[in-house]
């Protein structure tokens, strides 16, 4: 029977299962196939903090959501149209997010009495009518996978583990995905064990064929490619993009890169990634703690490398004293904070934007630094380059505030031409700069950038001592003079304030909005999607998004004053709103969510609708 093919403009699928079920990989592969087809995509993984929480339990559920469309999209989607639930726990943990009518594909083999009891289902939800409002597809995924692999030379356990490929095959069929890249991927992944390549490919094909033949799946869907700018794309997560940005900063500056890091979720992947790129002159050091990590990075900067340290909030707290030292030393240093939900260990695999205060103010003494934040996964690449540019040009620590949402989310990235990336070359001091032509003044500033000379050890004639004690202007000698300290404190503040950063742009297509939504960092996608939705409904709204949080764009005050109302949504309790109110005396309206999850566009849309309509 020829199946009906239906066109859709966008679909949100969530793959959910036990942490051992390989859902991240399944989602990743589906995303890759979808990217090949040319849809716009946005993804969101969601995994537990435990590596393997007890099997079949609610805390052990791991999921991966992918949103793909024939137009450009900004978020991984609020509510899935399709849920793949590999066990009762995955169903229970996710069904609440589904709109009525959504497709649910369940692995019936896991719906045993024992597994149901484990998650508190008194009756089998597949049978008790509780899922009547949905389009339920019961599939004996495990049994069919094992059946399909009966002739394969693999253990029962390995056969069972291939069930995620069966699920992937089925979904790939349902959404007419090209699957060549998955076959190639399996060949690479199991290169050492050809029997597993064969088994996984067979499981995938069995899933595909099952879709084609079974009566249960009457319709097949298509989502046409999105109109995207010409060029070469790849799908990329924020952490990958950030790592590549740091490598690019090394290439574009011509400097060796030194990364000091101590493992911490969700930042460790940057350490893993950079440790693979030694051929670019990248040295990575897994230090004994976060303090040593930043210390080593600062030592490398002192020696003429681009010093970088990567961590999450708890690590930034430990690095505070060294950041202040770097402020006093006026050396380049990039500090990457992939934020997670705190305080303390908090929700280490969930997202939050609550380290803004710490980045701006969390040090002893007057210790201003530059702060930048990427707005999307691919933007992490450019934000990393921008952080390096500021650090190198202005000889200052720069904090980059990423977060779990952008770090692990992914989207298609139009690859830039290497030549178009900023030129980050720097000049080290080589000659004495004193008026007598003989003296070296390590704190004599460049009149334009206010940066002091970067005189690296090994340079004859420029031997000098630096340190955390207050320094006399120009000479850098220890100085306890009150007027000098006052001058130096103000100078350090002024040199950060004086860093030129691009003006903030406002998106207000019709130019008639009276309400401005101001965001920063990873909320760009949901805010943007909410604004689009409002405009489509004829409600005017303006959006502006901050990439530079310190210093702020010079036109920001003017922009804010141009609107009747300014709303600031943040995944914290109003940290940017606080700064904006204090700095610009604007009665900004904070809107806050600190659940560990990103905003949904729908939630922002209804909140903003209220503000626009009722003022």
């Amino acid at each position: 029977m020829a199946k009906q093919v239906r066109q859709l403009d966008r679909v949100v699928i969530r793959f959910a299962g036990d942490s051992g079920d390989g859902m991240q990989l399944t989602g990743d592969r589906f995303t890759s196939e979808t990217a090949q087809l040319g849809n716009d995509i946005s993804t969101l993984p969601n995994f537990p903090a435990e590596i393997r929480a007890p099997a079949g339990t609610l805390p052990g559920v791991s999921s991966f959501q992918v949103h793909f469309a024939d137009t450009d999209i900004l978020t991984p989607g609020d509510a899935p149209n399709v849920l793949v639930a590999m066990n009762p726990a995955a169903l229970k943990a996710n069904v609440g997010d589904l709109p009525r009518g959504a497709d649910i594909i369940v692995n019936t083999d896991e719906f045993t009495k024992r597994n149901l009891t484990k998650v508190g289902y008194a009756a089998n939800p597949l049978e008790d009518g509780s899922l009547d409002g949905y389009s339920l597809h019961p599939v004996a995924l495990t049994a069919m996978t094992i059946g399909a692999l009966a002739d394969h030379d693999v253990s029962k356990k390995d056969a069972e583990r291939a069930k995620n490929m069966f699920a992937l095959g089925l979904l790939s069929w349902m959404y007419s995905r090209p699957y060549d890249s998955t076959l190639r991927f399996l060949e690479r992944k199991f290169a050492a064990r050809p029997e597993l390549v064969a088994a996984n490919i067979a499981a995938f094909k069995a899933g595909w064929n099952f879709g084609e033949t079974t009566e249960d799946f009457g319709v097949r869907y298509e989502v046409k490619p999105a109109k995207m700018s010409p060029g070469t794309y790849r799908n990329i997560t924020g952490n990958q993009a950030l790592s590549l940005g740091l490598v690019a900063a090394g290439v574009r500056s011509g400097l060796p890169v030194f990364l000091g890091a101590y493992p911490i979720t969700p930042a460790s992947d940057i350490l893993h990634e950079l440790s693979k790129h030694k051929r670019f002159g990248v040295t990575t050091m897994q230090a004994e703690d976060e303090i040593a990590a930043i210390g080593a990075a600062l030592g490398a900067s002192y020696g003429g490398s681009l010093g970088i340290t990567t961590t999450s909030g708890p690590g930034v707290a430990l690095k505070g004293e060294t950041i202040s030292l770097a402020v006093a030393l006026e050396l380049p240093l990039v500090i990457i904070d992939v934020q997670r939900a705190g305080p303390s260990t908090g929700l280490p695999t969930k997202t939050e934007q609550a380290d803004l205060n710490m980045a701006l103010f969390g040090r002893h003494g007057e210790a201003p630094v530059a702060v930048v934040a990427p707005r999307s996964p691919s933007d992490c690449f450019f934000a990393a380059l921008e952080a390096a540019r500021i650090a190198l040009t202005y000889r200052t620590p720069v904090i980059l505030l990423s977060d779990n949402y952008v770090a692990n989310g992914s989207e298609p990235w139009l690859l830039p031409e290497v030549d178009s990336l900023p030129d980050l070359r720097v000049e080290f001091a080589t000659e004495p700069n004193g008026e007598d032509g003989k003296t070296f003044l390590p704190y004599l500033r460049d009149p334009v950038t206010m940066a002091r000379p970067w005189a690296i050890p090994g340079t004859p004639g420029l031997e000098h001592r630096i340190g955390g004690l207050e320094k006399a202007d120009k000479t850098g000698d220890i100085s306890y003079d009150p007027a000098n300290h006052d001058f130096m404190v103000r100078t350090r503040a002024a040199r950060i304030e004086g860093i030129p950063v691009p003006d903030i742009e406002v998106e207000d297509p019709d130019g008639d909005a009276r309400t401005l939504v101001l965001g920063w960092g990873s909320t760009y996608g949901p805010i943007g999607a909410a604004c689009r939705a409002l405009r489509q409904r004829g409600l005017p709204i303006a959006q502006a998004h901050l990439r530079h949080l310190s210093p702020m764009p010079a036109n920001l005050g003017e922009v804010l004053k141009g609107y009747d109302r300014v709303v600031i949504p943040e995944m914290n309790l109003g940290q940017l709103a606080h700064v904006i109110r204090a700095r610009f005396l604007v009665d900004a309206i904070p809107y806050n969510q600190v659940s560990g999850l990103p905003f949904t566009a729908a939630k922002l849309e209804s909140m903003l609708e209220e503000v626009v309509k009722n003022g």
Binding site: A296, A300, R465
Partner: protein
């Protein structure tokens, strides 16, 4: 390691223009003078020498050396110096630290620098007190010590810095005295020649807050009885006429001091700093009593192990050697790795 070159330098060349601000009579002066007059011997140009310190009286040291230098933050010098040394193998990097700086707040960095065998020469000025903060007890102060923060005596047992360094897999461990310039310089020489971390404990007198802490090791009336001067390849005997010696009693775990007259000369331990088993140097480090009787000075241990710097640098260099094309081309290649697609 910084390669020596033919430059003619003198002690004066290593004096910076900064006024030295330790208390008059402080042992740090003697160490500074000894280091400044020793440096020319290394024939390393001043610009390739870097002193990195933490915080404390001792950590003011870099300001007085006319080399590159960084006075950093409390306890972190080994970490900062590690980043510098690994990224700049052409430099000769020295760390100056105190007993509080190295063993209290910075204990973690010290042990990890030692286990990695980073190419650092670490000079620990041990005055058994917190000098800069005006006289609290330190991790090397004796139990029961009365200080400002322990008016009825400290309840903390001290660290033995050398035992600690040996436990941390140090490849070079030595001890010397601030007041014995010749000995101090001989130890510095051995440390400078060592590939990897060289850990040197320098007993230093703080005449303000812990005066005379090492007096028995310096007073001509007692020093011969108290000090054991270790010399590689020589039987370990001491006392004015060599009347005391060190033996390894059969069945025991450690070393013991005996009257030379009472033992078979063949049983006297011949010092060998290159013994690969750290237990020997450890046993030496345990000889002194609470009153500092039987304190060995000199090089306890000096063994070969590749430095962290060499290993890290060679990984990077090997990867670079394999790469082809300009860095820009390689970057373009890196950006396009994985599954890509093209829209026309």
């Amino acid at each position: 390691m910084a390669e020596p070159v033919a430059v003619k330098l003198t002690q004066k060349d290593f004096k910076s223009d900064q006024e030295v601000r330790w208390c008059p009579g402080c042992g740090d002066y003697a160490i500074l003078a000894a280091v400044q007059s020793f440096m020319p011997e290394l024939k390393i140009p001043r610009e390739r020498t870097v002193f990195v310190s933490g915080i404390g009286c001792s950590s003011r040291f870099p300001y007085y050396m006319n080399t590159y230098g960084m006075h950093s933050i409390h306890g972190r010098a080994p970490a900062i110096a590690t980043g510098l040394s690994v990224s700049r193998p052409d430099l000769s990097v020295w760390v100056v630290t105190g007993d509080g700086d190295a063993l209290s707040i910075g204990g973690n960095h010290l042990i990890h620098a030692l286990r990695r065998n980073v190419n650092l020469k670490i000079l620990l000025f041990n005055n058994r007190i917190y000098g800069l903060t005006k006289g609290q007890y330190s991790p090397t102060s004796e139990i029961g010590k009365i200080t400002k923060s322990t008016p009825v005596g400290s309840a903390d047992s001290p660290f033995n810095p050398l035992s600690l360094a040996l436990g941390a897999e140090a490849t070079f461990v030595a001890r010397t005295l601030d007041s014995d310039r010749k000995h101090l310089q001989s130890v510095l020489r051995a440390a400078a020649e060592h590939n990897g971390s060289a850990f040197v404990e320098i007993y230093q007198n703080c005449n303000i807050f812990n005066d005379g802490a090492f007096e028995t090791l310096k007073d001509p009336a007692t020093r011969d009885e108290y000090l054991i001067r270790l010399e590689h390849g020589q039987p370990i005997t001491f006392g004015a006429d060599g009347q005391r010696c060190v033996v390894h009693p059969p069945g025991g775990f450690g070393l013991e001091v005996r009257d030379t007259a009472s033992v078979d000369p063949a049983d006297i331990v011949v010092h060998d700093a290159t013994v690969s088993e750290p237990a020997y140097a450890f046993a030496l480090s345990r000889l002194p009593g609470l009153d500092l009787r039987n304190t060995p000075i000199g090089v306890f241990r000096k063994v070969d192990r590749p430095s962290y710097d060499e290993l890290v640098v060679s990984q990077v260099e090997t990867a670079k050697a394999k790469a082809t094309g300009t860095p820009e081309d390689q970057l373009a290649g890196l950006l396009t790795t994985g599954d890509t697609w093209t829209i026309l």
